[in-house]
Subunit: 158 residues, 2 copies
DNA sequence: GTCGCTGCAAAGTCTTTGCAGAGAG
DNA sequence: CTCTCTGCAAAGACTTTGCAGCGAC
């Protein structure tokens, strides 16, 4: 389904590009590039999961214990990144939001309302159909988001 | 796709059925049928929108000021209804959850990023496809939400 | 009468904000 | 140097819980 670049070099290049974009964004808005902001972006990038602010904070504390990054900074940086469309947030049944880097390949989400787990998928038929609908209604489609809510197989067996 | 009953009598019958289902559910679990629970179900039924616990509470206070229904009861009843699959909850970008009667049909949204207008649509192919995807991945699909972002025809001509 | 239900208020979560010192540009 | 950031702790927003009296069955 989704093309995922697993090659180390490719990922590195991708991250460098992301960093450049981030720095450009900051400069444009007279904001500062701090070590905390870099670490947050990097940790988000390295994670293959959708992270809550809390889990992101934990990851950072584990990997960079000397930084003593505060949870407030994580929240502030995530808001910043979201406003700039560098990350996307999802809310699910339980409390809180989860974040992922927006730069990743387009996909939709299947969200378990019991445990909050998120599965990604892409379906060509739906993508086509969306364009078709937009055309029919005279829209120029720019983007879309779709979430399916349900109960995942592991929660069903409980 | 889903049959939508707009005729008043049909709606009444639907509600009666809903009430019966609710009472049956309560009896099965040795729970009690209280006026508060009835009012919450009725208000949910009468509303065409997705309601937050708070907005539901407000509606109830307006329509039944003598009841002095507490917000805690609204939360408790919504949880009960959700656990019994009589209502579905959705969380969107903002904080909090929104609830709707599970029996209702949903619609998706086409959102113009220029003027903010919202067009509703339902597409059977997409609905089918979603169920298919959920099945494939072992999910029990409960609901979904989909938004297409673009530029509407009137904004295009500007 | 019994046992679940309700409103109230207090306690929990999760997130945001105010502030004074630290640090990037 | 200036002006933004950061961590901390306090404040907010939303939701859940404990309790004593109330009410359905």
């Amino acid at each position: 389904m989704t093309k995922v670049t697993t090659d180390f070099n490719d990922r590195t290049i991708e991250y460098e590009q992301l960093l450049i974009d981030f720095k450009t964004l900051l400069k444009k808005n007279s904001l500062k590039f701090t070590i905390q902001r870099e670490v947050i972006l990097e940790t988000l990038y390295k994670s293959d999961e959708h992270l809550t602010p809390e889990s992101l904070h934990h990851l950072i504390q584990e990997k960079f214990p000397d930084l003593k990054t505060g949870i407030a900074t994580v929240y502030r940086t995530l808001s910043l990144l979201e406003d700039s469309n560098m990350v996307t947030s999802l809310s699910f049944g339980a409390q809180g939001k989860k974040y992922e880097l927006g730069a990743k390949n387009h996909h939709d989400h299947l969200i378990c309302t019991e445990c909050g787990s998120i599965t990604e998928f892409v379906d060509e038929q739906i993508e086509d159909r969306q364009h078709h609908i937009a055309d029919e209604l005279g829209f120029i489609m720019k983007d879309h988001s779709m979430q399916i809510y349900g109960i995942c197989s592991s929660c069903q067996s409980k």
